[in-house]
């Protein structure tokens, strides 16, 4: 059965339709894999009973030839998506017993497409982090290790549990959310494909909010095709989200076959950052060659405000978070720590319920919004954001897709960068600009570092043009040597 966990999602789908194996067999193999991989701590809440029940139902549908887009496909869900009747924690103590009486739009769409729920994956608390080490449930380990070094590495974050689960074969696909790189960065660290769609492409309804103007759900998968299939199921207009775009969802999978001949690929010179690993620069160069060889035209472009993206992000995201997390007050749900009076109850609940990084970001956020500082910080950052978005607009006047590295370095050992928030924030230096502009981005595993860790290349597309983005990603994937874990 082990082989079933090594299939791609597309292969599994086709195998199920051809009745090469049953959904029950497929899901049972993954349930076993989940149990065997508990050491990774990729999953906070496993749902094997729900998975097996769903698999049975899928088999019944498949037998009648009524299989849907994801019929019988085992997936995991970042524990930031509210799931009806299944504990949803945001990896926080403050929500560690919260059972939503509702289902997020994106997960509801997955289940409606026939996907099978394997469990809720680990993340940085409230999605605040780049390493999945701030989780109340402990860090997720990257399935990869450096050659000759057995220290556990971070899976990246914040959607580290989903990235690790997909990399380790615990599911065929997973959902994540990306606020400043939380899908793309862990995808790069774990050697899988991770796609952040255009802001507004997937509904945010039912996803625990971190930074509302940036949060966007997207898929993890082991191939570009699989990511395209998942995105097709997750995306779509939702009248319950005022920022959801009422635009058609194209057939992303069908678009993949179109290749990149004639596409213009922009290379933003500002992404040549100081302190970037040599091998990352080399891989980026290689990526240009691959795409050129596939028929694309490489064009140098400039995104002059790139270096200001990270500081702007670290004002805007905490500001929104400080307000979004005010609802965790011990009154209607979640942890309550008794106090002498109401304010004491609030303060103790939030001090004990939130971890250190979350508290830090709430405080920074409250500070930058406070009287007398709003203009200097928040307003300034939103103006810089306008400039960053304009940079992209200009670039996309000349090119169709941008190619950059996903991260400046490969995965690092758990425990590193913990004491230096700013050093940790630098992980997101290449992913944050597209987030601020609301643009879609995808990380494609493209090579290995000298010590054998996966490295990703990022492609950034025009708003709502994930189809072209995925075409370029498929070309990159086809050219890059397949990377094998434990090689």
């Amino acid at each position: 059965m082990a082989a079933l966990t090594h299939l791609s999602l597309a292969e599994a789908r086709d195998g199920l339709r051809k009745k090469a194996f049953s959904a029950e067999e497929l899901v049972a193999a993954h349930v076993q894999a989940v149990e065997a991989a508990r050491g990774l701590n990729a999953i906070i809440t496993e749902t094997p009973e729900a998975a097996l029940a769903a698999a049975k139902a899928s088999d019944a549908r498949l037998a009648k030839g009524e299989g849907r887009a994801l019929e019988g496909i085992p997936v995991t869900v970042k524990d930031l998506f509210c799931t009806e009747g299944i504990r949803t924690t945001a990896a926080s103590r403050i929500l560690d017993r919260f059972v939503p009486p509702y289902e997020s739009t994106v997960t509801a769409k997955l289940w409606d497409a026939g996907a099978v729920p394997m469990g809720k994956t680990n993340l940085d608390e409230f999605a605040m982090g780049s390493s999945t080490t701030t989780s109340h449930f402990g860090p997720t380990e990257n399935p990869w290790r450096r050659e000759g070094d057995n220290r556990p590495l971070v899976a990246g974050g914040s959607s580290g549990g989903s990235a690790a689960a997909v990399a380790a074969g615990l599911c065929l696909g997973a959902t994540g959310t990306d606020t400043g790189g939380s899908i793309r960065q862990p995808a790069a660290f774990c050697g899988v494909v991770g796609l952040k769609p255009t802001y507004g492409r997937c509904s945010r309804w039912g996803i625990v909010a971190f930074a509302s103007s940036l949060d966007q759900a997207g898929p993890f998968a082991r191939s570009v095709r699989d990511a395209a299939i998942l995105l097709g199921a997750m995306a779509g207009f939702d009248p319950k989200d005022s920022t959801s775009a009422d635009v058609p969802v194209p057939d992303f999978e069908a678009a993949l076959g179109q290749g990149v001949r004639g596409l213009k690929i922009g290379i933003p010179k500002e992404y040549q950052a100081d302190g970037m690993a040599e091998e990352v620069t080399a891989l980026w160069e290689q990526g240009k060659v691959w795409l050129k060889d596939a028929g694309a035209e490489i064009v140098d472009v400039s995104l002059p405000h790139t270096r200001y993206a990270l500081p702007a992000y670290y004002i805007i995201a905490p500001a929104e978070a400080s307000s979004n997390l005010a609802r965790y007050d011990g009154v209607r749900y979640g942890l309550r720590v008794a106090g002498e009076d109401l304010n004491d109850m609030y303060k103790k609940t939030r001090a004990e319920g939130f971890g250190r990084e979350v508290r830090r970001r709430i405080l920074i956020g409250a500070y930058v919004l406070s009287a007398g500082y709003y203009d200097a910080y928040y307003l300034k950052a939103q103006k810089v954001r306008t400039l960053i978005a304009r940079d992209f607009e200009e670039a996309f006047g000349k090119v169709d897709v941008l190619l950059t590295p996903t991260t400046p370095t490969p995965a690092f050992p758990i425990g590193e960068k913990e004491d230096d928030p700013v050093a940790m924030y630098l992980n997101d230096v290449f992913t944050v600009p597209a987030s601020l502009a609301g643009l879609p981005g995808v990380s494609v595993p493209a090579g290995l570092s000298a010590d054998g860790l996966p490295l990703g290349l990022q492609l950034i597309g025009r708003a709502f043009d994930e189809a072209t983005l995925l075409r370029a990603a498929a070309a990159l994937e086809a050219a890059a040597p397949g990377i094998q874990r434990g090689a």
């Binding site: 507004g200 200001y308 500081p311």
Partner: protein
């Protein structure tokens, strides 16, 4: 911007997060470091630049005036740490 302990204590109170006296020093240092980092933005000329209102370039959609939800007290109270007689309850507030 270097934050002093009193300022940090003030923000913590505003955000309703209890911070022990012994934590203030470290926290002030960390927060100051983050502020130093974000203050790079001062270099950017934003004269005549509009602040971004939303990346989603669209209109605010309006709902019809219809009742679609309600009468679900069990759901609303299901996760409450404390509830009595259909109410959420909290330590007494003095007006």
């Amino acid at each position: 911007m270097s934050l002093d302990k009193a300022t940090v204590a003030g923000i913590a109170s505003l955000a309703r997060i209890r911070v022990g006296e012994e934590e203030l020093e470290d926290l002030a240092g960390e927060l100051s470091k983050i502020l130093d980092f974000v203050e790079q933005l001062e270099e950017v000329d934003t004269e005549n630049v509009e602040a971004m209102a939303s990346v989603a370039a669209m209109e605010l959609r309006r709902r019809a005036d219809e009742v679609t939800e309600g009468d679900q007290r069990d759901k609303i109270l299901a996760n409450a740490p404390e509830a009595t007689a259909g109410f959420f309850t909290v330590p007494k507030v003095v007006e």
